[in-house]
Subunit: 229 residues, 2 copies
Amino acid sequence: MPFTYPYARPALTVDCVVFGLDVSDLKVLLIQRDLAPFAGRWALPGGFVRVDETLDEAARRELREEAGLTKVFLEQLCTIGEVQRDPRERVVTVAHYALVRLGDHQVQAATDARNAAWFAVDDLPDLAFDHVAIVTTALQRLQGKVRYQPIGFELLPPKFSLSQLQRMYEIILERELDKRNFRKKVLSLGILQDLDEVEQDVAHRAARLYRFDERTYRQKVKDGFNFEL
Amino acid sequence: MPFTYPYARPALTVDCVVFGLDVSDLKVLLIQRDLAPFAGRWALPGGFVRVDETLDEAARRELREEAGLTKVFLEQLCTIGEVQRDPRERVVTVAHYALVRLGDHQVQAATDARNAAWFAVDDLPDLAFDHVAIVTTALQRLQGKVRYQPIGFELLPPKFSLSQLQRMYEIILERELDKRNFRKKVLSLGILQDLDEVEQDVAHRAARLYRFDERTYRQKVKDGFNFEL
DNA sequence: CCTTTATAGTGTTGTTATGACACTATGTCA
DNA sequence: TGACATAGTGTCATAACAACACTATAAAGG
């Protein structure tokens, strides 16, 4: 009989740090727990992995069930196997992070539904388990990755202005960027499609709208191109 | 009764991609399996996580037991939870990668011991399970990380010449670097300590030896310094 | 309709980093 | 002492980066 006593057969969970971009803040989606342990505390959306699903599938299912989110950008972050991290019994969790567009209807729904809410990443409430550490790791990963992979677009609407794009980077990287240098650089990458449209319903000069041209991006990557902020 | 039927309670393993640097190749340490499944096949060192140890502890224990390695550089890589990846039953594995100095005595021992051997990373035998995919991921991670984190030194002896250092990067990145530009750049980082010593027993002009000055590096990082190849 | 307000959009220049490139120096060995 | 193998060294042209301030446009409000 293999793998019996001394080997761990832990319960397995997935947890997701869901990032959304506000006007002025990077937000994280939290769910208020109604069961022990940590009943009443805010926690990352997540839950137990089922016997017939992969980790990625489990994470997506939890996002759908707990927050009504589908088709989001989702990546594995790290796995935490501290023996006593769950007071009940050993629970190993595979942490993920996700990027969503806060404007989306489904995201609105998520905010309305049950005990879910968005919190500014630098002003989080007390979290259950070791979830603060997971958020910290996720933020570091995002800050690192956003500079060499075009994942930031996942946080913006499909059509966006260069100002929005710049603000996104400023918020994530927590530092100001020079407007002219930023525009020069980002346009020179040649992965933005100028839509020849402008913003609507703004109380000032309307900005030109762009779209991330994933097709072109992929082609360029094949040819040895390297995205870099 | 929580977490019974529908939830997974998988066996949990750790697997390690141990990299070592040869004169002309990046090598990976493999162990020949003597048990089914995949008896006789080469596989990554690794094994089941015990009830009382963390993932990191399990990985280090396996490295010690299977390869006689201690105190190596070790980082988590990714976790694989495909349902059928092990023919016996569901086994989730947390993959790691490690960097060791091939010159070390313990590493020599590892090579001698039982069915362990080093293979060039681009000339691997058939591997058990999904271990090829893990090696591929680990290599990509190493290639990415070596450029913005001074982890490559873990593959070199404590005292090394600039030529050795350059060769290390060339081997990992799989492209040639310009000697003068490389030396200029790496010295300008100010994280190498010139030991005022030269190589011994070489059949040509002996090279100056350097050491990675971790103290200075940490200090510089605190002051906002960014290592970059 | 004219002023205010809010944001969009635009170029130049000095500085720094990068990449290309070839020869001399030093030590061992035959 | 000559052949060899590798160490070590500098310049220049080009590209990338950082700093910097004003004009343009549209809506709102008096």
